[in-house]
Symmetry: C2
Subunit: 183 residues, 2 copies
Amino acid sequence: MRPWKRLASSTVLANRWINVTADKCLLPNGAVVEPYFVVHEPEWVHVFAINTAEQVLVVRQYRYAADAVCTELPGGVVEEGEEPLAAAKRELLEETGYHARSWEYVGPLFANPGRQTNRIHLFIAREISAASKQNLDATEEIEFHFLSAAEVQVAIDSGEFSQAFHVASYYRATHFLAAASEA
Amino acid sequence: MRPWKRLASSTVLANRWINVTADKCLLPNGAVVEPYFVVHEPEWVHVFAINTAEQVLVVRQYRYAADAVCTELPGGVVEEGEEPLAAAKRELLEETGYHARSWEYVGPLFANPGRQTNRIHLFIAREISAASKQNLDATEEIEFHFLSAAEVQVAIDSGEFSQAFHVASYYRATHFLAAASEA
């Protein structure tokens, strides 16, 4: 399974919100694909933060492109020059006001590797405490609350917790913790 | 949690591969966001196909934007006028040559609701059999094989099965089947 070769790449849309290139690609079978559109994204982080009752901290916000209110894990964009762990700590604090004393890295997943360049870095946060108020942008309206594992499953089944990236991270974290507790 | 209002929308990139609009949005707090970029995508399908040994049928392909070879579930785009179930059957057959006699709909997830319009529809396929050869586009190179649940977990942990959308669908299907077998 050999990679494609980039023969050329030109920017078709670039600003502070979105960055799209149209690439010319040589495939292993000799075919040339042009244009192939790539959305260049910064890395993202997700935080699976649990309290001592093993409830998960979730956020709820309106998502414009799908016109839906989504329950999700805290998370966001890794800023330029920032480490993923620092971004995870910052996003958790900004979105919920929570701070955690224990951090563990689960690993990365590709967000959408056929179209997007970036990965989602998943962290587990424990020994959490409410440290401050939310610190949101003017365009952000975010609620947060705790859910048990059974309540998250109900929310997934009902469509309340319905964002694929976050469903991936939620289940991945629960399996990671289950494997760790069996080891 | 109130929705944003679309005040205007203009197309900035539209062709057979990608469709991006720049919208002007009125937020519930009175703020106006402009431009807000939306990527308009068709609906997608994923297929969790299992054999009588409870092994899952996975595909493996090169994904250009992330420059990575990814193990995933079979799936793809719902074509215009096509029902999601028909798309699931078509994609399974095209990518693997497999046909299934039993189909069950698990439900939808939003792909990336802050940026993209579309959902991923997840189906479970059982009573499967190899019915034909793969039927791939000239730009597609897809391998397929079966993995046990333990092998998928190893592939997720190692980064082989590393696409967030497919990790979401894989775990969601396994939890759906576990809940059904307990009921």
